[in-house]
Amino acid sequence: MDFNTKYTPQTWPEHPEQVTLEGKNKFLGFWLFLGGETVLFASLFATYLALKNKGPSGMEYSTQTLFELPLVFVMTMLLLTSSLTSVYAMYHMKNHNFKGMQTWMAITVLLGLGFLCLEIYEFNHYVHIGFTYGQSAFSSAFFTLVGTHGIHVVIGLVWIILLILRNAKRGFSLYNAPKYYTASLYWHFIDVVWVFIFTVVYLMGVVG
């Protein structure tokens, strides 16, 4: 029983990501990392809430004048759907359907790229109208919070793309199953953070 063992759907274990000790460690370590990430984003959210709409006196930008809900809605839908597609990918992993998994992972990447493009467009737009990174405490906090999430999206995309390419010709093994699994966990977590961002930053920002 090596990492190179070839499995069939009949022999493929129920939880391929947690069969080897390495897989178990990766699985647990990644969840702990997500626990830390929770605190990391909490610090960013806390700072954002403390500095929301704060700036030099007479600042013209505020959450109510800046944010465009339709764009945020589309971004939300893209990311939410990409979360479902990566669930599909994991479903196919458990069914030992490699092609299915790769396809759904690729769709996840496409949706993620769409989200990223919209976010870049949004940031670009803000900078264009003068709401730059250094404009105020509010702008710094906003760009840092949403931008950190954006960087997470980039990292997730690069990670998944590398996984897809690296394993394209190799099929399943107990070595790469945990890698796919943690990547999908990461992607879901990005969505979890986004749920709070669209609620706390955008929706509550528009409400005032």
């Binding site: 000790l21 370590g29 702990l32 990392f33 990391l40 700036g55 405490a137 702008s139 906090a141 840092t144």
Partner: protein, 620 residues
């Protein structure tokens, strides 16, 4: 692949340490690097005490004094105490739970190199235009105004070394949760393992806020953000919150492993089971949890309002309860034991009154109204040196003697060790006890000098003489180490003769694959149980001898870290030098590429074959 280590030349040994993923070797690296920074921080401490030895002294200038105190605090906390404790955790914890290695050997190495390069980066500030000078807390209102690059070195250096600590914390947690030997239930884990576990959990939750705080500082100073600048709507209190949300758990990250070390020592040298084991575990977890709910007691005088101050005051005082439980448990462990006063035991006995003194002044400061009087005075300096030197440093020195035979198969001289203890212990109390009174007399913290008519000269002189005593103690320790290493007398198995926990059951020198067969744990203090039952071999095993899977060495952690190190220079000179951005990009590219290489290149490790293990008879 041949699996048995051979004699190597010097170059090969260096390469071996640069690429090692073995927790025992990484422990030695942590100990060596942490020891080096401990000496640097110690020299800075001596400079402080020379400057304050007499009134109106001009030994160093005010600006340089600020740099020295900042670097003393930062170095001692981040680069000396924590790494040395990490060294002991690495050396002992996997053996204590009967694990083959840590969960992520590669990340373990990465964590070490990140810490080391972060530390080097921070200390390079001395030679590149001045060290940070806003105190180890680096409050934003001061640090934003600090000219030069000192603060930038602080923020970037701590960011890098903090990432290493964070990685190390996750690694320890997963190791303890997933890799315990059969029979090693949670409630059979030795206290050293338990405290490592809780301290690692604190690292997991405390370092992200620090990361964010440091990022804000970096972004404010180098990339034009406005988090702390009130003219742009920023708020400097945010830094204080973020720093202390990290900073208070940090002191428990330091002291809990110290508690663990002393718990081992008390049981070992009283030759008795640790009294109240389960309450010790409970107290450890409770301290860890409460440690997160009290950070604002560092900020009583900020003006958070009476309600907030009251809540945090009560929460702070509550921590005294589990800590008190621990003190009584230790006392009752000694009670009626067959005590052997070895050097580690001496430190443990000295620790109790010293630490209790520090704890009591802590409760005094927890009372918010009194804290208004004590805040930013030498009373505070005395308090935190009593807990950190009287707790953590005594534990480090004790552990150095206790675990030296386990790590190096040699015994440090007991005689010289006792000299070290007495010099250090007397010097410590002489230096810091009197500082309580200096504080009450009104001497503020962080002043670079005082006047002769203020009535502080005698006490300051006594304090400085005490510091010399401590320095002598440390010098004797260094001599002790040199002599021991030069003599190189192997000590063999169970060097303290009364070992109770698994790490003492392993043959000496410890084979690179740890236990040949995974041990079966039959209770708390499992090695002691086996010995009491007359088991010659010292251990019952859970499996027959079979192939052992080992991770390959890797140079990638080193390269990854160098990338961040280079990138940090780019960030530091952003907007000032034209090469800054290219260097930043280059450094990050090195790191990201080496991450990609790590990810894309399969690394399945190798196996030590059963036959080789049989031939080796216990391994070498």
């Amino acid at each position: 692949m041949s699996s048995i280590a051979k004699k190597k030349g010097f170059g090969a040994s260096v390469w071996d340490y640069l690429t090692t993923v073995d927790h025992k070797k990484i422990a030695i690296l942590y100990l060596a690097a942490g020891g080096l920074f401990f000496v640097i921080g110690g020299i800075e401490a001596m400079l402080i005490r020379i400057q304050l030895a007499k009134p109106d002294n001009d030994f160093v200038s005010a600006g340089l004094f600020n740099e020295i105190i900042t670097m003393h605090g930062t170095t001692m906390i981040f680069l000396a105490a924590m790494p040395i404790l990490f060294g002991f955790m690495n050396a002992v914890m996997p053996l204590q739970i009967g694990a083959r290695d840590v969960a992520f050997p590669f990340l373990n190495a990465l964590g070490f190199w990140l810490f080391l390069f972060g530390g080097i980066f921070l200390n390079l500030s001395w030679f590149m235009g001045g060290a940070p000078d806003a105190g180890w807390t680096s409050y934003a209102s001061l640090s934003l105004a600090s000219p030069g690059h000192g603060i930038d070195f602080y923020a970037l250096g701590l960011q890098i070394s903090g990432a290493g600590t964070y990685i190390g914390g996750i690694n320890f947690l997963v190791t303890i949760i997933n890799m315990r030997a059969p029979g090693m239930t949670y409630m059979r884990m030795p206290l050293m393992t338990w405290t490592t576990f809780v301290a690692s959990a604190l690292i997991l939750f405390a370092f992200p806020p620090l990361t964010i705080g440091l990022f804000f500082l970096i972004l404010d100073r180098m990339f034009g953000a406005n988090f702390f600048d009130h003219t742009m709507g920023g708020n400097t209190i945010i830094w204080e919150h973020l720093f202390w949300i990290f900073g208070h758990p940090e002191v428990y990250i330091l002291i809990l492993p110290a508690f663990g070390i002393f718990s081992e020592i008390f049981a070992l040298f009283s030759r008795k089971r640790l009294f109240g084991y389960s309450s010790m575990v409970f107290a450890t977890v409770l301290i860890g949890f409460l440690g997160f709910m009290v950070w604002a007691h560092h900020m009583f005088t900020v003006g958070l309002g009476p309600t907030a101050n009251a809540i945090f005051a009560v929460a702070t005082m509550a921590i005294a309860v589990p800590t008190g439980m621990k003190i009584f448990n230790w006392l009752l462990t000694i009670w009626g034991g067959s005590i052997k006063v070895t050097v580690p035991m001496l430190y443990a006995l000295g620790f109790i009154p010293s630490f209790v003194a520090g704890g009591v002044t802590g409760v005094m400061q927890a009372a918010a109204p009194l804290d208004y009087q004590l805040h930013d005075s030498y009373f505070i300096v005395a308090h935190f040196h009593y807990v950190i030197v009287g707790g953590v440093v005594l534990a480090i020195l004790a552990a150095l003697h206790l675990y030296w035979p386990l790590m190096f198969n040699q015994m440090l001289s007991e005689k010289l060790g006792k000299w070290t203890f007495w010099f250090f212990f007397i010097g410590f109390h002489m230096t810091f006890f009197i500082q309580h009174f200096l504080g009450l007399m009104g001497m503020p913290r962080r002043v670079f000098t005082f006047r002769a008519d203020q009535g502080w000269d005698l006490f300051n002189l006594i304090s400085s003489i005490g510091a010399v005593f401590m320095a002598i103690g440390v010098i004797i320790l260094v001599i002790n180490i040199i002599i021991t290493v030069a003599k190189n007398v192997p000590v063999g198995n169970d060097p303290w003769e009364d070992g109770r926990t698994l790490e003492w059951a392993i043959p000496q020198p410890v084979p690179f694959y740890n236990f040949k067969q995974t041990p079966l744990v039959r209770g708390l203090d499992t090695f002691w149980i086996e010995k009491q039952e007359g088991n010659k071999e010292g251990m019952t095993y859970a499996e027959p001898i079979s192939d052992i899977h080992m991770p390959n060495n890797s140079f990638i952690p080193f390269v990854m870290t160098v990338g961040l190190f280079v990138a940090a220079f780019g960030a530091l000179y952003n907007g000032e030098k034209t090469w800054a951005v290219p260097v930043l990009v280059l450094g990050l590219a090195i790191t990201l590429l080496s991450m990609a290489v790590r990810s894309l290149k399969d690394d399945h490790g190798y196996h030590i074959h059963k036959e080789d293990l049989m031939n080796e008879k216990g391994g070498k």
